[in-house]
């Protein structure tokens, strides 16, 4: 009962603070920009042109799901994660700096309860923010395109643009050779090459095509997964918030850690020169944070999703437990 009171107090404090809504405003701007971009400019994309050239009904191609997926792709790591860091990092350090932490701790509440209540409220906030992000994006897509997702391609931006032009299709024939100058045998070979390349492209697309009508369901699965992933970054920010007196320092340390681990991940995936990086890559939280993309495969590999979710859970729990231990021993001198 007393713990629930504490959660309520934290909830009221968080939800009445104007800065809480900055992340919602920023997310809204991003979602609108991406959805409008898709609405006005998607027909210029190589993917769209490719399907159009091959006789597909492209009126069904661009839909609410595609816009939402694109918004998630660009917004998750670079926007949502920093926004979550801002919220978590001010939880303890911000209150310590203002002096309101002592105002609370001179009351008959336990420090561990206080920290847990703050973390729970922040977790709810993450869920709300991601729900808002996905809901707004999908809702806006429905308004723009109507409730259709007949062709639901999870990663259209991974389809490579078609190079060359004309019947030869660019690289299909010998280099720099005009179609008119080719012999029949060369023309037949060029046609076969082009067909093969087109088939491979269709196969690539097919890997990402979700059964029609599944778009919303997949987004609903993505909601808790993305929230779970962001909670890991939040727990790191929470930890730095406990060990710093200033929220800016906590934010800077978390952002620094987040980007440093992303760089490590990038080094590991782009280089096989340093085996150590490749060895640690599966254990980096940024690697695991991408696990939400798994719910947009044709078949969701739940085993892989579960493994990554467990790894992220381990990180979250570890950082939160460390924060609790330090906060328990900390002298409040502000």
């Amino acid at each position: 009962m007393e713990f629930l009171r504490l959660v309520r107090v934290e909830w009221v404090k968080t939800m009445r603070m104007r800065s809480t809504y900055i992340a919602f405003v920023v997310a809204g701007i991003l979602v609108m920009t991406v959805q409008l971009g898709v609405y006005f400019n998607a027909d210029e994309s190589p993917f769209y042109r490719f399907l159009e050239a091959n006789g597909f009904d492209t009126s069904l191609l661009v839909n609410a799901f595609i816009g939402t997926r694109l918004a998630m792709e660009v917004g998750f790591g670079l926007l949502m994660a920093p926004m979550i860091i801002l919220t978590f990092a001010r939880q303890v350090a911000g209150e310590d700096l203002r002096g309101t932490l002592r105002l609370m701790l001179v009351r008959p509440i336990g420090r561990l309860d206080l920290l847990l209540a703050k973390f729970l409220v922040c977790s709810l906030y993450v869920g709300l923010l991601m729900g808002f992000f996905l809901g707004l994006s999908y809702g806006m897509g429905i308004v723009l395109y109507g409730p259709k997702d007949s062709i639901t391609v999870a990663r259209p931006w991974e389809v490579e643009p078609e190079t060359g032009s004309g019947e030869a299709g660019g690289a299909a024939g010998p280099p720099n050779q005009r179609w008119e100058e080719m012999t029949e045998a060369e023309r037949a070979q060029a046609r076969a090459t082009r067909r093969g390349r087109r088939d491979r492209r269709f196969q690539t697309i097919a890997r990402y095509v979700i059964t029609p009508g599944q778009g919303l369901k997949r987004l609903l699965i993505a909601w808790p997964l993305t929230s779970w992933a962001l909670l890991t970054v939040g727990s790191i920010a929470f930890f730095f918030s406990v060990i710093n007196k200033h929220p800016i320092a906590a934010m800077a340390l978390t952002v620094g850690t987040y980007f440093m681990v992303m760089i490590l991940q990038g080094l590991a995936s782009q280089s096989n020169i340093i085996p150590l990086f490749q060895w640690i890559q599966p254990y980096l939280f940024t690697t695991a944070m991408d696990f939400w993309r798994g719910c947009f495969s044709v078949e969701i590999e739940w085993g892989s999703v579960g493994r990554h979710a467990a790894l992220l859970g381990g990180y979250t729990l570890g950082f939160f437990a460390l924060a609790q231990w330090i906060f328990w021993r900390k002298d409040i001198t502000s």
């Binding site: 009221v12 609370m104 009351r107 509440i109 002298d331």
Partner: protein, 308 residues
């Protein structure tokens, strides 16, 4: 014998190699208004934070209403209200909402109690305004209101008079007097305004460099060790009479009056002897020292001992 509300035993805190508070024993009894004095950096705030469980003592213990307080743990019951230095609040919330949230952290308080404390500190009219627009004095009063909310037995006030104008100081003094008289609250008051401590506190503790240099009643401290001032009129010189009284320990002159040292209980006897010698007594007053002078004397003496 009044019950002890707050007690510290061998309380000490070390930061690095420096002892900020060292083996501090104090005891505050029910309905005391207990002044806690010391120069800047003497260890007052650290002591108060240890009492409130904000800072973990290096050694020693704190007992509130007979129960040992541990930093960080849940405390129930916790009959304490506190203001620590400048009261801070959630500026974006109204005064009343701040009190509602803080009350729920203390186990809840009915709306009538919130209204009552707001009225007590004179903030009823401004309760719906965001605290961000409150003046310093209003924040101090709201600080007192939040401290009084859970009907505490012990009120710990760390520099509650800082930044208040004379009217604010008078009002706060009045509130303190009221809560002691009407609600039986015990007050532990740390302040630099010694004249206020002298006016409001019945007992004082003076610390210097984290160590206790005096603990006792205020009256005892400010009574000038048995000095009285004697002013006479008429042609008769009182000196022969004074020198003839064996219990007068010292005789001196000060601003046209006699300054005598004698046991306080012999003052009536002195008066009778002067009247019998037909000396007109115009004034016979036990002398009091100002707390400020005593404080400076005590802390300087402790400082020079420490240096020696």
């Amino acid at each position: 014998m009044k019950e002890i509300v707050l007690e510290t035993r061998g309380l000490a805190k070390r930061y690095g190699r420096r002892w900020v508070v060292e083996d501090l024993d104090l005891s505050v009894r029910q309905r005391d208004v207990y002044g806690f004095l010391g120069r800047n950096g003497a260890g007052k705030s650290t002591t108060i934070r240890m009492i409130l469980g904000l800072v973990r003592p290096t050694r020693g213990e704190v007992l509130v209403a007979g129960r040992t307080i541990r930093a960080g743990g849940r405390r129930s019951p916790w009959p304490v209200g506190a203001i620590i230095e400048s009261p801070v609040f959630y500026d974006y919330l109204s005064g009343r909402t701040n009190l509602e949230l803080l009350a729920s952290l203390s186990g809840g308080a009915p709306a009538s109690r919130i209204g009552q404390v707001l009225e007590l500190v004179g903030l009823t009219d401004r309760q719906r305004d965001p605290v961000g627009v409150y003046s310093h004095g209003m924040r101090q009063r709201l600080g007192l209101a939040q401290a009084l909310l859970p009907r505490p037995e012990l009120l710990i006030l760390d520099e509650p008079l800082d930044g208040l104008d004379p009217n604010g100081i008078r009002d706060l003094r009045q509130v303190m007097t009221n809560v002691v008289e009407t609600e039986g609250v015990t007050i532990f008051l740390s302040s630099h305004i010694l004249s206020e401590v002298e006016l409001t506190c019945n007992r004082v503790l003076v610390i210097h460099q984290g160590r206790r240099v005096f603990e006792g009643s205020t009256a005892e401290l400010i009574a000038d060790a048995g000095h009285v001032r004697l002013r006479t009129a008429g042609p008769r010189d009182p000196e022969p009479v004074l020198r003839g009284l064996g219990f007068i320990e010292a005789i001196g002159r000060e601003n046209g009056a006699w300054r005598l040292r004698l046991p306080q209980e012999r003052v009536p006897e002195l008066n009778r002897a002067l009247v019998a010698a037909e000396i007109d007594v115009m004034e016979l007053t036990p002398l009091r020292r100002r707390l400020e002078d005593i404080f400076i004397g005590l802390t300087e003496a402790a400082g020079s001992e420490g240096a020696g």
